[in-house]
């Protein structure tokens, strides 16, 4: 018989248990030992999987890289979909949600603004148009099989722990989702609101401020230093928009309701769009070396794309093999193809062409319509519902998507512009990657480059047979106003039909007839050696490519060519070890250029500040984590830039996103008025600003307790889920935005070498990722390469499959199995 105390204890326990079950069931289901959803993926052992397309095997190597072998292509890509889902499903899902404007349904209110932006630009419509174009091509079946593989995994295997932590479901993957991921990459590399920034600077700081944004940066190291092998081309010979003759119709003088001239102030709009503008750290390095400069007599190629450093990393490494095709390299999770890598006989790499591929159009508007030539047209309008997660449920927010004849409209604070970007059209980049994965000779690379549209890329390639190639592949719009060819570095009056592109159909099939033909884009056939680092493509291209704002500062390009030139002049070969050493190079040409400014100003400094400046005297300009001089330089140059432009820009309400390029700052004369501090009666010069910046750097170093560069320049990569245990370990880093060994610790995101690859046909090849190949937290490969990457070391990669039992065996499903797509 229970005692009264015992009975009371039981009653209390029952009550607590019922309350816990009612209130905490979700949490218990997530974290209970053994059965908790977050532990579902702790063990990922050997599996046998039914495939509707045929047999395949997947053998993971010691770095978690899947080696996929299949009896046919569809079986191969079904297996690829399955393994990408196994290793990166949540990341893939998040990416498609981000660019499709469906992130709020998972993370709530904080993603609503992002969803509004991405819905406004209707990337999903663009991806659907691309799918309609490629579904009947050779790439179509592989995209369908890949989607089936992803869904088969999601239906039959445990989902990654993030789903349990967020309490969300996985929705079926489609081929359009793969193309949507491609649109996201393309936009991040070539979508730009630079023209808005420029217009805002002009309206706030006056026409003279535009001298800070020159058409051409002052340097002599373009990608093509000699002659381009492109065909002769005159943009005036291209087709003009069909009705351009009516371009100069005068305004109606009607009342406007949000329209604006091209000389208006667009700061409010740009502030909204700035998070989605091309990031300052996005850039890349690549070089290709012919067999004349290697010991083996075979070409070599190196590539390290500088993208956002994320958890998990942006790249997924894989090795794929089936009849008539073998490729190894890195893919964006969600895309079935190797994007950068090699086949047995061909290697290729990409860097971004720093061109201008986005145009913005303003309109005279009235009663919800916009003027286009001599008529008012209704905006093509659609109201979409955005689901926003809120507590255990959702709320719905309506969002109006508006388009004009030029493209989608973005608006804020009474300002709106339509956006033209080749990627809003049906595009072929998936088919281009598919072709590269099948390349056996340089002509196959040409075939891929010919159809490549977005993002325009500096494509370098090398073959085992000894050929090398550079081509700036992509679609380059020719803009016309009143029938005349014009540059694209300004806002266009859409009502007057300014700056239109012939042959461009957003969300449909473009003919590209008014664009630069492939034969005319910059190219070099069989270069001895050639390097790209997002700098100016060539000195005098026959058509408008970009401006000093869209191209990168020249420092990385200069340093790479400096190393290659010196090596070529020596008796030493440009072997794989040499390429690796260049990728590890931390000497800053920018520091070399600017340090003299600091040292020349020591007379203006206090004794304590002068001590800091003295560390730069005799420094070798190496941005190493253990360097005190690198710390002083980095904090000084940041302060120097702020001290130079901060007073004028801040007074105009413009933050440092509007500052000009570093090389422009370097070129300012010592008595430039930009050095003058408007708040003082005196006229300051470069030396005054340099001294003041050094004092600022000293104060910051002392306040923060920094001792070396690595105390400030730290790798701090966090999972988007904001759970500390999902983050990568923090590390001090070498490198900067302007060194070949690239790393930039921005205030909100970090950028750098998103992978490093060296392919040398005559010897070994190498690759390393900034993290690991698995996005599953429990995996041994979650960040097993991080230490190698941080310290500039590599893995050796070959085209051999590890000799061990396959981890996953795909067996042909019975013939009755229905195959979708």
């Amino acid at each position: 018989m229970s005692s009264p105390v015992g009975r009371a204890a039981s009653l209390v326990a029952v009550a607590l248990l019922l309350a816990a079950g009612a209130l905490g069931g979700t949490y218990f289901g997530m974290a209970a030992p053994f059965s908790g959803d977050v532990y579902d993926t702790v063990t990922q052992g050997a599996e046998t999987v039914e495939s509707p397309y045929g047999s395949a095997t997947v053998t993971y190597d010691r770095w978690g890289v899947p080696h996929v072998s299949a009896e046919n292509e569809r079986a191969l890509y079904f297996a690829v979909g399955y393994v990408q889902a196994r290793d990166r499903l949540f990341q893939m899902d998040l990416q498609r949600r981000l660019i499709g404007g469906r992130l709020s349904a998972v993370v709530g209110e904080r993603a609503l603004e992002s969803d509004r932006f991405h819905r406004s630009l209707d990337f999903e419509g663009a991806a659907e148009a691309s799918w309609e174009r490629v579904r009947e091509s050779a790439a179509g079946p592989s995209l369908s099989a890949f989607a089936d593989g992803v869904n088969h995994y999601a239906e039959t295997r445990p989902l990654p722990p993030e789903y349990a932590l967020l309490d969300v479901e996985f929705e079926a993957w489609t081929p359009v989702d793969s193309l949507l991921v491609g649109k996201q990459i393309a936009w991040s590399l070539s979508g730009s609101f630079t023209d808005l920034r420029r217009a805002t600077v002009r309206s706030r700081l006056g026409e003279e401020a535009l001298a800070l944004y020159p058409d051409r940066l002052d340097h002599e190291t373009p990608i093509i230093r000699g002659e381009s092998d492109a065909a002769a081309f005159d943009p005036n010979d291209t087709v003009a928009p069909s009705d351009a003759s009516s371009a100069a119709v005068a305004g109606t003088g009607g009342e406007t309701d949000g329209g604006a001239g091209t000389d208006a102030d667009f700061a409010g709009l740009y502030d909204r769009l700035e998070p989605y503008d091309t990031r300052p750290g996005v850039g890349s390095n690549s070089w290709v070396v012919s067999g004349d400069h290697t010991a083996s007599g075979k070409p070599a190629l190196a590539n390290d794309p500088h993208l956002s450093l994320t958890v998990p990393g942006v790249w997924y490494e894989m090795h794929l093999r089936t009849d008539g095709m073998e490729t190894r390299g890195v893919a964006f999770p969600g895309i079935p193809y190797v994007v950068i890598g090699r086949t047995a006989d061909v290697a290729w790499g990409f860097t971004n062409v720093g061109g201008d591929f986005t145009d913005l159009y303003t309109y005279e508007t009235r009663n919800g319509s916009y003027r286009y030539g001599d008529e008012f047209r209704a905006f093509d309008t659609r109201v979409e519902s955005i689901r926003v997660k809120e507590g255990d449920g959702y709320r719905t927010v309506n969002h109006t998507v508006r388009k004009t004849v030029h493209g989608p409209v973005v608006r804020r604070a009474g300002r709106q512009v339509a956006v033209a970007w080749p990627g809003f059209s049906a595009t072929n980049e998936s088919l281009g990657a598919y072709r590269l994965n099948h390349a056996a000779e340089i002509n196959d690379v040409e075939r891929a480059a010919r159809i490549w549209d977005v993002p325009a890329q500096n494509l370098v390639a090398a073959t085992r047979d000894g050929e090398t190639l550079y081509v700036a592949a992509g679609k380059y719009p020719i803009r016309r106003t009143d029938g005349r060819v014009v540059r694209g570095d300004r806002l266009f009056d859409g009502s007057a039909k300014e700056g239109e592109w012939a042959g461009y159909t957003p969300y449909g099939n473009s003919s590209w007839r008014g664009f630069v033909p492939f034969e005319a884009v910059p190219r070099v056939e069989n270069p001895d050696y050639l390097a790209t680092a997002n700098q100016r493509t060539m000195d005098d291209p026959p058509f408008y490519v970009g401006t000093g704002e869209t191209y990168a500062d020249p420092y990385r390009g200069q340093r790479i060519y400096e190393r290659l030139d010196r090596r070529a002049a020596s008796d030493e070969p440009m072997d794989a070890a040499f390429s690796r050493s260049v990728q590890r190079d931390v000497r800053s040409v920018a520091a070399e250029a600017f340090t003299g400014y600091a040292l020349a100003a020591t007379d203006e400094m206090s004794p304590s500040t002068r001590e800091y400046a003295a560390t730069l005297d005799g420094w070798n300009y190496s941005m190493r984590a253990d360097s005190e001089a690198a710390l002083v330089y980095r904090l000084w140059i940041e302060a120097f830039r702020n001290e130079t432009f901060g007073d004028e820009f801040a007074a105009a309400g413009l933050d440092d996103d509007y500052y000009p390029k570093l090389s422009v700052l370097h070129g300012l004369p010592a008595d430039s008025e930009w050095y003058d501090d408007r708040s003082t009666p005196a006229r300051e010069t470069r030396a005054d600003v340099a001294a003041r910046a050094m004092a600022t750097a000293r104060e910051r170093i002392e306040r923060e307790g920094y001792e070396t560069y690595g105390d400030y320049n730290r790798l701090d990569l966090n999972h988007p889920f904001q759970r500390a245990f999902l983050d990568y370990p923090e590390r001090p880093m070498d490198g900067s935005l302007f060194t070949v060994f690239n790393f930039w610790n921005g205030p909100s995101t970090q950028h750098g070498s998103s992978m490093r690859m060296v392919v040398a046909f005559g010897e070994e090849s190498n690759l390393v990722l900034p993290g690991g190949n698995s996005g599953v937290f429990w995996s041994d490969h979650y960040h097993d390469q991080l230490g190698l990457w941080v310290t500039g070391r590599y893995r050796t990669v070959t085209m051999a499959t590890p000799e061990r039992e396959p981890t996953i065996v795909f067996e042909s499903a019975p013939a009755s199995t229905e195959v979708d797509g």
């Binding site: 229970s2 005692s3 105390v5 015992g6 009975r7 204890a9 039981s10 009653l11 326990a13 029952v14 607590l16 248990l17 816990a20 079950g21 069931g25 949490y27 218990f28 289901g29 997530m30 974290a31 209970a32 030992p33 053994f34 059965s35 908790g36 977050v38 702790v42 063990t43 932590l165 759970r723 500390a724 245990f725 937290f777 429990w778 041994d780």
Partner: protein
């Protein structure tokens, strides 16, 4: 089960065996679903000779479940990672200890 038989299981010669059986069955249930922890608590509680013993049995089962879980993670190479999961780690420990303990004390008042 009659009161006499239950009393014999709780304090007779087979009490230890009953507890071991309850623990094994409880672990199997725990591996299937989180409510298995409640069932496990009920099983080890029902063979306890008193409310106090039921609480001890519940706490002990929680400890055994956690040790078994840690061993499984260690074999899978994920033990260290688990300890780094912060709130998830604490939630797992709290779940493993609280649910069987409450269930054990609850059942002892019913049966």
């Amino acid at each position: 089960m009659t009161g006499d038989r239950l009393a014999a299981v709780r304090s007779g010669r087979g009490a230890d065996l009953a507890l071991v059986l309850a623990t094994v069955l409880g672990l199997v249930a725990t591996a299937v679903h989180w409510t298995g922890l409640v069932l496990a608590g009920a099983l080890v509680g029902v063979v306890a000779s008193s409310h106090a013993r039921a609480l001890v049995h519940g706490l002990s089962f929680g400890g055994v479940a956690l040790l078994s879980f840690a061993a499984w993670l260690a074999v899978s190479g994920s033990l260290l990672a688990w300890t780094e999961t912060g709130q998830v780690f604490l939630l797992t420990v709290a779940t493993a200890v609280a649910l069987p303990s409450l269930a054990a004390v609850s059942i002892r008042g019913i049966v």
